[in-house]
């Protein structure tokens, strides 16, 4: 009899867990959608920025600027964009593995997200700073981080800044990657990023048309092309980093969604098995009771 009660209790608790994981799955799904939409709504900005950068690049050739200069040194800053919360499958583990394989002994770390901050601190890595970026991602938050690393770079504290984040390929696939943020490669300037999830989708028509102004005007640049370009570089960095954070967020939510879906499925299977066992035990109890009654009756008559 005690066995029956135990089973009932377990079934109830597994059912509760399934409810929670199901809810988390739905929340993650909607958050993932939002992160994707956010990346898409930033598209007109990216296009306009790239267009002007491309034009400026040809007008301001041989431009020398600290942000464009390739330095020799080995001191590197690695910006690790991970998650604040767990329960998202192997996302942070995979990112950590990639990060550690890319990092040298001299590498300094800056983290966004608490999960890998604690891990990196435990591994006794040189942790410089830790930022929090809320959900949904605000551009101003990303800007603060980008400005911080840009300052470090310009002060000569580091010779290179790279960003480790999880690239969103599809709902089921997220790949950890390490991309160079600073110095800016003049070749990549003004080109769409290969990690940009928005670029791989068909553009909404009005957004794509908005900045394709017909004909190549001979623009006046105020004060001159080089200064305009120099002023644009920090914004290019800010935007690039913002895009990376969006990728990381979309990956986090889709990974959590898949993990929670698996958890829900497992819980359902468990409930099924437990219910079967419960019914077996119940029937066994009834049978043995019947047998007892029958035996008692036979003994009397």
């Amino acid at each position: 009899m005690a066995n029956l009660r135990d089973l009932r209790r377990r079934i109830k608790s597994v059912k509760n867990t399934a409810q929670i994981t199901k809810a988390m799955q739905l929340v993650a799904a909607s958050k993932m959608k939002r992160a994707q939409d956010q990346a898409v709504s930033g598209r007109p900005y990216a296009e306009a920025l790239n267009k002007v950068l491309n034009k400026l690049k040809t007008r301001a050739e041989d431009l020398e600027h600290p942000l464009l200069e390739q330095r020799e040194g080995e001191r590197e800053l690695l910006l690790v964009v991970n998650t604040d919360k767990g329960l998202c499958g192997g996302l942070n583990t995979n990112l950590l593995r990639k990060t550690l394989s890319e990092a040298g002994p001299e590498t300094r770390f800056v983290t966004v997200g608490t999960k890998l901050r604690t891990t990196l601190a435990r591994l006794k890595k040189d942790l410089q700073a830790d930022f929090q970026i809320k959900d949904p991602v605000q551009f101003s938050d990303a800007k603060a981080v980008a400005r911080f690393v840009t300052d470090q770079y310009l002060e000569g504290q580091v010779d290179r800044v790279r960003v480790a984040f999880t690239n969103f390929v599809s709902t089921l696939t997220q790949v950890p990657v390490v991309e160079t943020l600073l110095p800016i490669s003049p070749l990549a300037l003004g080109k769409p990023k290969d990690f940009d999830m928005a670029a791989t989708r068909p553009a909404p028509v009005d957004a794509a048309d908005k900045f394709v102004t017909g004909g190549d005007y001979s623009y006046l640049y105020e004060p001159d092309p080089a200064s305009v370009l120099v002023a644009l570089l920090p914004q290019y960095i800010n935007y690039t980093f913002y895009q990376m954070v969006l990728e990381a967020r979309a990956s986090e939510h889709s990974s959590r969604m898949v993990a929670m879906k698996n958890a829900t499925d497992n819980a359902k299977q468990l409930i099924k098995d437990l219910t079967l066992e419960y019914n077996k035990a119940r029937q066994a109890a009834i049978t043995s009771e019947l047998l007892e009654i029958a035996t008692a009756q036979m003994a009397i008559s």
């Binding site: 956010q38 709504s41 930033g42 007109p44 900005y45 306009a48 920025l49 002007v52 034009k55 400026l56 410089q128 700073a129 830790d130 930022f131 605000q138 551009f139 101003s140 938050d141 800007k143 603060a144 981080v145 400005r147 911080f148 300052d151 957004a207 908005k210 900045f211 102004t213 005007y217 001979s218 623009y219 006046l220 640049y221 105020e222 004060p223 200064s227 305009v228 002023a231 644009l232 914004q235 800010n238 935007y239 913002y242």
Partner: protein, 138 residues
């Protein structure tokens, strides 16, 4: 044919419509744009953008960015764009003060990330206040 103004931020397209004229904070001072302006690209200072549409003036706070002007179009790219009505002065004021206070208060034992976040918040608040204040003094 009139002038088409679009204001784009990394988060969204903040505004896109036909307007009569635009005044924006350019590289060296305010820049008024009417139709058939000479094609121009310049940097944008954080400050106030005003556009006129059928006799009505609309004021916006914009962050840093740049502007691309062609004969019939004005494309503003800024990292922030908030309409004046959306700015709540006392809230912004409070945010500004608390950020400045926090920055001065502890001084040396601020972590670098805190300083960066506070500076960003101060810059944002200042741009918004500038718009609100200026409007009133006129």
């Amino acid at each position: 044919m009139s002038l088409k103004l679009s204001i784009v931020t990394p988060e969204t397209v903040a505004f896109a419509d036909q307007v009569d004229s635009v005044v924006l904070p350019g590289f060296d001072g305010e820049l008024g744009v009417l139709e058939s302006h000479v094609p121009l690209v310049t940097n944008l200072q954080p400050g106030e953008l005003v556009f006129r549409k059928s006799g009505k003036e609309v004021h916006l706070a914009v962050g840093e960015g740049f502007v691309e002007i062609t004969q019939h179009e004005v494309n503003v790219l800024a990292d922030l764009a908030i309409e004046e009505e959306g700015i709540q002065e006392d809230m912004v004021e409070k945010a500004l003060q608390s950020a400045q206070k926090a920055l001065e208060d502890k001084g040396a034992d601020h972590t670098p990330e805190e300083v960066a976040a506070l500076q960003a918040s101060i810059a944002k608040s200042l741009a918004q206040l500038k718009v609100k204040r200026r409007r009133r003094s006129v």
